[in-house]
Amino acid sequence: MSRAYVLGHSEHERRRLQLQGAMLAPYTTRFFVEAGISEGMRVLDLGCGVGDVSLLLGHLVGPAGAVQGVDIDEASLSVARSRAVQHQFPNVIFDRADIADFSTDRRYDAVVGRLILQHMEDPVGILRRAAPLVRLGGIVAFQDCTPGLNVPSWPKCPRMERALDLIARFAVLAIPQYAAGTRLYHWFLDAGLAAPKVETRVLTEGGPDSVCYEWLVETLRSMMPRAISLGLAEAGEFNLETLAAEIRQEALETGTPMNAAVLTGVFSLV
């Protein structure tokens, strides 16, 4: 059984996930293409949340392929299903399941997951169970970040820096696998997956139209109650209604892009 998702299952968390999905889409698309995911494939997306990765896969596999997203949170799946209808992906379906003990008789061309193993008690166990779900020669591909690690932005932006630092310190205390990105390669080998390929990118975002400011503040919003109880932040320290605009203005005035995350992707052929 998965332990409770640290950032909760609220409406604003689902909105945060969509902002995050928009920000990460180019990196994830590129990673999946490099891993070999292509038209006509059947793909399983473990821990699909509100469906960003599944919908992105829907584009990659096209109408001849199929995508199944699974997640434990029914409210998130409901959002994901609506988005699949809205974007006209009849071949992208969503099912409720706990990925910690998910099993099926189906076989897939690829099993993937993004930013999910960091929340799991036993990430190696999930990778071990993923391998038999993939046909011979199929792909296991996971992407995860290292939320406890920040590349300092320059010139300094105090508000942005404080927010990113708080997220990193919160991650170390609250996220079960806060160094997931750096551990992913070893987890693959530990799970018996051969010759994993690894790529790591620094997500640098910025400019007047970026969603990164809003994403940063929504991340704070999701973690704030717990961050306060952990003694990492004080109640009222941030005005979350105005903070995104303040950070945006600060970043544009100083010309500072935001190093938002370090994202690692690892894939292996079964």
Partner: protein, 193 residues
């Protein structure tokens, strides 16, 4: 103010001599480096669109991505670079690229970062790291960051390789930041204030 023995802030910011030296061994090290960095450089150029504008890639030693499980020798070698570079040059050159582009008058560049994470048994990473270490070792010893004789340069590549394979980890991740921007077709460059 002296940033390090014999090097002023002005020299550091303008035309200081290339800190890795100019001999045949350094040229060989650069060839190794090109080979090791090729995948992430290609990825960056694809992002930029070849020929679309001005492209620059720079290291960023303000941080490195640690190996896991920790590999002691790899970490020790990385610490030498991370401690030495701020004393000699802009260690966070990669993160400064955006600002430098703007100061030079380019439109705000798109910045992307790649981290060199390599753990393959046949990688040229090990040899490249050793040749890089060899190039900076005299300065590092002079500054007291490394004890004379601490590294056996003839065997360290194999030791690094053995360590990473034994621990099943990737090498400590060296960060490369890239920036690209398009020069306006008609207007001259206008440096940011």
């Amino acid at each position: 103010m002296l940033a390090s023995p014999g090097i002023s802030e002005d020299q550091m910011a303008t035309s200081q001599s290339y800190i890795m030296g100019h001999d045949d061994r350094e040229r060989r090290r650069l060839a190794l480096q090109a080979s090791v960095l090729r995948p992430i450089t290609e990825r960056f150029f694809e992002d930029a669109g070849i020929g679309a504008g001005m492209n620059v890639q720079e290291y960023d030693f303000s941080l490195w991505v640690p190996s896991w499980p920790a590999s002691a020798l790899n970490s020790r070698v990385m610490r030498v670079f991370v401690e030495l570079f701020p004393k000699l040059t802009h260690a966070n050159a990669g993160s400064r690229l955006h600002h430098w582009y703007r100061q030079a008058g380019f439109p705000a560049p798109r910045v992307s970062g790649n981290v060199l994470t390599d753990g393959a048994p046949d990688s040229r990473y090990y040899e490249w790291m050793v040749e890089s270490l060899r190039a900076i070792l005299p300065r590092a010893e002079q500054m007291g960051l490394v004890q004379p004789g601490e590294f056996d340069l003839d065997h360290i590549a194999e030791q690094l390789r053995a360590e990473l394979l034994a621990t099943e980890s990737t090498a400590a991740g060296i960060i490369m930041m890239g920036a690209y921007s398009n020069k306006p077709a008609s207007a001259p460059l206008e440096p940011a204030a």
